[in-house]
Amino acid sequence: MVLSRLSRVLGPLIVTALVLSASPPGAVDAQGKKLKIGVVYDYTGPLAGGGSELQALGAKIMIDHFIKKGGVEGYQIEALYADAQSKPEVAINEAVRLIEQEKVDMLLGFYSSAQCVPAAARIEQLKKFMWITTCISSAVLENRHLKYVFRAQPSGRQFGLMSTDFLAQNAKTKLGKDPKDLRVAIIHEDGAYGVDVSKGNEEGARKAGFNIVLKEGYAATAPDLASLVTKLKRARPDVILHTGYNPDITLFLRQARELGLRFSALIGHGAGYGVYDKLKESLGKDVNYFFNVDPISIWLTNEKALKPGLAGMIKMVGDEYAKARPGTTIRSAHVGMAASNTYVFMTEVLPRAVKKYGGVDADALRKAALDVDLPEGGTMLGFGVKFEGEGAPMAGQNDRAFPVIVQYVDDTAHVVWPKGQQQREPVLPLPDASPYAAQ
């Protein structure tokens, strides 16, 4: 009897005390809260092997890292992965399905610009937050005034301008030609990605005064590129600026070799050129001395110049990458790119949205993204982060992102441009040992 009365009085008191002691005042609201992220990449179809699957791996490594940590600011993280199947219409359908049926709070990922351009418009229409880790075409953001779409990556135009800047600075000293005498060919896959990079190439080439001897697009699925090779032979370029996926890149280079195309330098612009292992498997040592424009591989950055703590994250990503893909010769920049851009979201955008703007809805995430202000060295990719705001022509674009140029030499990627990041002098023109070397 006494015990029963005692328990009736003390019971509620004990429960209340337990609840209060278990969680600090600020965290009470966040208990049981969850951020559902829809992650969209190509796990099947041609783009998967062309780099998308590696990007997906990078994003997953980082998402899993934060899941293991127990979430961010009291929010558990749940990721739902969807396969865009290398098709724009599937990418849009999956994005809509994730938003409407799976009720995700935001979308992350997207490899192909051809998918990003229409998907961004649809996601914006549904008023959801979209964090792009990869697709680089300017057409995704330029003059579209999207409110909820953000991209930490450099744009395709920047890729194109980087290679022509590199050439302009090295034409005389390395190739012995004044810029006006340098014969440049611009070839590209004809999707949003290739077209945008080629526009940057053309803009930079005209600014530098190069002689553009050929500019042409082709379908990435074309079964034959021999006519393009013959046309290039007729145009006799010193330098070829190439933007493509895979396997169009390997088909082009194989046919170029078979048909005797010669040049002094070839500069690729990401995607297929960023997957060194595949290039090596297809082309063997012929791939030696090719250049590639991409955000820097996180394993090539000068760790001393990075924000404290990032070196540890780079090691973690590398370890997980090695577990997932044992035997990789050169760790692909793709993995680090997606991991770094996902890390920026998890450490800069999400905590700010929760703490400062009270949640994870699209408006809170948007305001938090616009507040991000990281100086150079603030990300694993070496660049800083500051997004262009509403009203700007490229609203949502990271203004501080920049790519670098690496050169593949004997199974090692070396950063050769810009000067500030340079690890070694570029080898230019192609040495005689290369089957593509100009006679």
Binding site: G217, S227, T230, R234, N246, R254, R257, E258, G284
Partner: protein, 289 residues
């Protein structure tokens, strides 16, 4: 730049060699349609499996190339028989659309199965054939091989159909399948032989394509539609027509792509196809009735 220069000659030669590849691709598909009256929409996927067979035999099990090619041809031939026995035979009396949808279903099945079994990574034989230089022009050895194989394959199939008892039976079935069955020809056996031959030709194409292209589960998308168009342009089931159509198509692509943007070559080729569907809907070499 002159219109007639060494590069035009090189483009013409490239067109002939590309035509050889396309002719080789269309040979098996035409044979199967001509005899069994069913279009293997999944034909390019059989080639994809053959390319994987070559890759694994050569790169993983280090089999000599000739032995690998022989095993590949036999394997894809067996797959052709399996396709017929499991999918086509039960649908022989069904409406053509059902047969088309069934082989379309096999296409997606094979793509998905290859993705699960082999992964999405591009695989490459890693063979780099020497470069052939003739009179200042460069010619692809791999393409030359495919061209030669297409010619030899065409002649062998022709001789088989004309000079052997089984070949005569195949031609007879192709002409009138009901009557020949009444006259005692075992049509089921003929269908199985034809399917094995069609599969074997897909295997032969795989052996040669793997020298030029990376293999991945979706490589069939690169060749499938164009192979089908060539067969239709030549007249489905008409070997000679398919052979000629392959070279006409390839030359339009090659020369058109030299003087205009590469994509225009394809635009002209497809425009030609559409025009011919109005002018000669039965195929380039079909006899006028």
């Amino acid at each position: 730049m002159g219109i007639f220069d060494v590069y035009l000659l090189e483009a013409l030669i490239n067109g002939v060699l590309l035509g050889g590849v396309l002719a080789l691709l269309s040979l098996g598909l035409n044979l199967v349609f001509g005899v069994i009256d069913v279009v293997w929409i999944c034909y390019a996927e059989l080639i994809m499996l053959g390319m994987y067979a070559m890759y694994f035999l050569s790169r993983v099990y280090h089999a000599p190339m000739v032995l690998a090619a022989a095993i590949c041809i036999v394997t894809v031939g067996v797959l052709g028989v399996l396709l017929h026995v499991v999918v086509i035979a039960p649908l022989l009396g069904a409406a053509p659309i059902n047969q088309l949808l069934a082989t379309g279903g096999v296409l997606f099945f094979l793509q998905s199965a290859a993705t699960i079994l082999f992964g999405i990574e591009f695989k490459n034989l890693g063979v780099r054939l020497p470069v052939l230089k003739v009179a200042g022009m460069f010619i692809s050895y791999a393409r030359l091989l495919a061209f030669g194989a297409a010619l030899i394959g065409m002649v062998l199939v022709y001789l088989f159909l004309r000079r052997t008892y089984t070949g005569t039976a195949i031609r007879a079935i192709a002409q009138d399948r009901q009557i020949m069955t009444l006259m005692g020809v075992d049509s089921r056996r003929i269908y199985v032989i034809t399917s094995a031959l069609g599969g074997g030709l897909a295997g032969l194409a795989a052996c040669l394509l793997v020298l030029q292209y990376d293999v991945h589960p979706f490589v069939g998308l690169t060749f499938g539609p164009i192979t089908f168009l060539i067969c239709v342009l030549g007249g489905l089931g008409n070997f000679g027509g398919g052979f000629v159509a392959a070279f006409v198509f390839a030359e339009i692509i090659s020369v058109g792509g030299l003087y205009l943007d590469l994509e225009w070559g394809y635009v002209f080729a497809f425009a030609f196809f559409i025009a011919m569907m109005f002018v000669r809907p039965q195929g380039l070499l079909a006899r006028r009735s």
